[in-house]
């Protein structure tokens, strides 16, 4: 079990809204990891869409992604790719 952290900027045009939050939960599930967001001194687990929405990560804000699991690096690059989708609706 390894834990990795990385600071990521949100490029999604509308910030981390429900579609992105839903996908985050999907990523954690797919890679079988514990995925958390650390921001404003708060830590929320990505399994809760509502907690993630409550972080209010708008376009241009940044946060730290914390991943614990067998292969955290792959999870981090998946999250990065998700946060870098600019033009999604």
């Amino acid at each position: 079990m390894k834990t990795l952290e990385k600071k990521i900027t949100v490029f999604n045009r509308k910030g981390v809204h429900s579609r992105v939050a839903t996908k985050l939960a999907g990523i954690a599930d797919k890679y079988n990891v514990k995925l958390a967001i650390v921001c404003h001194g708060e830590v929320v687990d990505c399994s809760s869409v509502l907690d993630v929405l409550g972080m209010s990560l708008s376009h241009g804000s940044s946060c730290t992604i914390r991943v614990s699991g067998a292969d955290p690096a792959r999870t981090i690059s998946a999250v990065e790719a998700l946060f870098h989708e600019r033009n999604e609706k």
Binding site: H17, S18, A25, S47, L50, D51, L53, G54, S56
Partner: protein
């Protein structure tokens, strides 16, 4: 939700026509009877649980969560994969219903406070609401609506609600409600629902997104709409403009049915042509541009695939301003238009007022003490501008200042002689000099053109062509002036004929004069948007047709199944006709042969 048969609570006279404005959530126009739906007011009572009942209550709650999740999963399985937007919304709802902020917290509250599930869920929801209210980003904050909709589903199951309430709707109806969840919207996807209107929600709400992906017209955010109308009232829903007309007059209904028909025809198969090149089979390019009056039309024009604006009738913008003479306001409008269409050109026609147009708006001056006896031949259009140089200069300066934001073409209307054109050009030069002195940037190569609509201008087109960069033929006035017919006069209106050979020949003469000098000739009258006359105009060699935006895809389709040599032949044949009836007879046999899709069915 349940249908409310008569909710006309305040006894307002429902028969009065009324226009109400909301947010355009999903395009389309429908007319129909309405069905007003009201959500059950869930007065979730509070009751204390005896210790031995607590785990029962937790189980009841968890079962309702299971039930809600099951409903959502079932709904999702019924949807085609192509409704990607709708599917991703349901996916997020499926996660939300299991979210620990809803489930764990509610269970905790039930156990700790020893209260019923409904009350506990309401408390949990309140806490989520507080958290969302603190969110700065408005888009994310609005997502609370989704949480609420998910919770409402659970509330519904807890209260043992009946199944779908609009499953039994048989007639075609427009549904009016306080709010819909995206899932409600998905359930509305049936032949019987024409459209819907709500009090809550905005263009970015998930309800709106689902409506768009289903293609159901919708207007959202009309306050108090469920109180203003009753089941059975007739309503027009215009999803393009976000307008609804309650209890419309017969005329209004007819007008909207026509809009609706046009829109339908467009969206059915014409949409395909929007992104294709405007050219004939053998590659002859013809510019297809739009006539507009206000900047509100910009989105529509872009949607219909115009290559710029062939005619911006600046007088509408001018008279709809609160403060009439403000150069800055002119400038803002022109800047917006030019930036919106760059690199395509935007043709701005200087004020075409006077005559019978906007007379009531004009400032009272010595020039207009009496109503003119023959306004069509009086002080109008460029003549008015030349008599009011301060106003004219102000408009020209605003145009020039905006020219750095895109491709501007200035258009002088109703030029009837070289002398008039020179006067207008002199004023344009002084506007340029003024800007140069002040160091204000503008495009020094702005194209200047004139409307050819007066017979004298047609006759002198070869001379005029030397002084301008392009011609724009205004057929509406050209027909009136050349045939001496006022279309508004019932006694002679039947003689008004765009296909009269005199008109055709004047167009041809203008085109030839322009081409001899190497300048483009466009046409911006109603003829340019009429599928019957378009092949003729193309045959006369016009370089550009400017029309009402909704005609663009139709004209483009016609152009794309034409061949340039055939068009020239058609033009030559039409030019040999002796009267309008002969032109028509010829077209009636020619068009179905060459354009079976458009004219074959007649």
């Amino acid at each position: 939700m349940k249908p409310v048969r008569n909710n006309n609570i305040q006894g307002t006279p429902a028969e009065q026509p009324a226009t109400l404005y909301g947010i355009c959530a999903s395009p389309g126009i429908v007319v129909g009877k309405i069905l007003v739906l009201r959500r059950h007011t869930r007065k979730a009572g509070w009751y204390h649980l005896r210790p031995e009942k607590i785990e029962n209550e937790v189980n009841r709650f968890l079962q309702s969560i299971d039930g809600a999740e099951h409903e959502l999963v079932h709904l999702r399985s019924q949807l085609a994969e192509d409704l990607a937007d709708a599917l991703s919304i349901i996916d997020s709802h499926i996660l939300m219903v299991r979210d620990r902020m809803i489930v764990d917290r509610t269970v905790k509250i039930i156990r700790k406070r020893k209260i019923n599930a409904e009350w506990a869920l309401a408390k949990a929801l309140n806490r989520i609401k507080k958290r969302f209210n603190a969110i700065e980003d408005p888009y994310i904050r609005e997502r609370y609506a989704d949480v609420k909709q998910v919770a409402d589903r659970v509330f519904g199951i807890l209260s043992g609600r009946a199944g779908d309430s609009f499953a039994d709707v048989d007639n075609q109806i427009i549904i009016v409600a306080h709010d819909f969840s995206p899932e409600d919207t998905l359930r509305l996807r049936s032949e019987s629902v024409l459209g819907f209107i709500t009090e809550k929600g905005g263009a970015t709400s998930h309800t709106a997104i689902v409506a768009r992906s289903l293609g159901i017209p919708a207007v959202l955010g009309i306050e108090q709409i469920t109180r203003k109308c009753a089941t059975g009232d007739t309503i027009i829903l215009d999803g393009h403009s976000g307008r609804v007309c309650l209890n419309p007059t017969h005329d209004q209904v007819e007008q909207y049915q026509e809009y609706s028909r046009q829109y339908q025809a467009f969206s059915d198969d014409i949409a395909f042509f929007v992104h294709l090149m405007p050219e004939t089979i053998d590659g002859l390019r013809v510019k297809l541009t739009a006539n507009i009056e206000t900047i509100d039309e910009v989105n529509t024009v872009q949607k219909f695939g115009a290559e710029g604006i062939g005619l911006f009738r600046s007088e509408f913008d001018y008279f709809h301003r609160q403060k009439v003479s403000d150069e800055q306001l002119f400038f803002e409008t022109y800047k917006y238009l030019l930036s919106a269409f760059a690199p395509f050109p935007v043709t701005i026609r200087t004020l075409d007022i006077g005559g019978d147009k906007f007379v009531e708006h004009l400032p009272v001056s010595n020039l207009r003490i009496d109503l003119e006896r023959n306004p069509a031949l009086g002080l109008r259009s460029i003549r008015y501008s030349l008599r009011e140089p301060d106003l004219f200069l102000m408009q020209l300066r605003a145009m020039l200042r905006a020219s750095v934001y895109g491709k501007l073409r200035i258009l002088f209307p109703m030029i009837s002689s070289l002398d008039e054109l020179e006067s207008a050009n002199q004023l344009l030069d002084s506007a340029k000099n003024r800007l140069l002195e002040k160091g204000v940037p503008f495009d020094p190569d702005v194209e200047v053109g004139i409307m050819i609509e007066v017979p004298s201008a047609v006759m002198m087109a070869d001379s005029l062509a030397r002084k301008v960069d392009y011609f724009s033929i205004g057929t509406n006035d050209m027909i009136q002036y050349s045939m001496a017919i006022d279309r508004g006069n019932e006694h002679v209106a039947h003689m008004y004929d765009p296909l009269n050979p005199a008109v055709i020949r004047m167009i041809k003469r203008t085109v030839d004069a322009g081409h001899a000098r190497g300048i483009d000739v466009s046409l911006c009258g109603e003829m340019a948007g009429d599928v019957m006359t378009v092949p003729v105009l193309l045959g006369l060699g016009l370089d550009e047709l400017s029309m009402r935006p909704s005609a663009l895809p139709f004209v483009k389709r016609l152009l794309r199944c034409s061949c340039s040599s055939q068009l020239t032949e058609l033009g030559d044949k039409i030019l040999q006709c002796d009267d309008g009836a002969e032109v028509r007879d010829f077209l009636n046999s020619y068009l179905p042969e060459y354009y079976p899709e458009e004219f074959g069915g007649r």
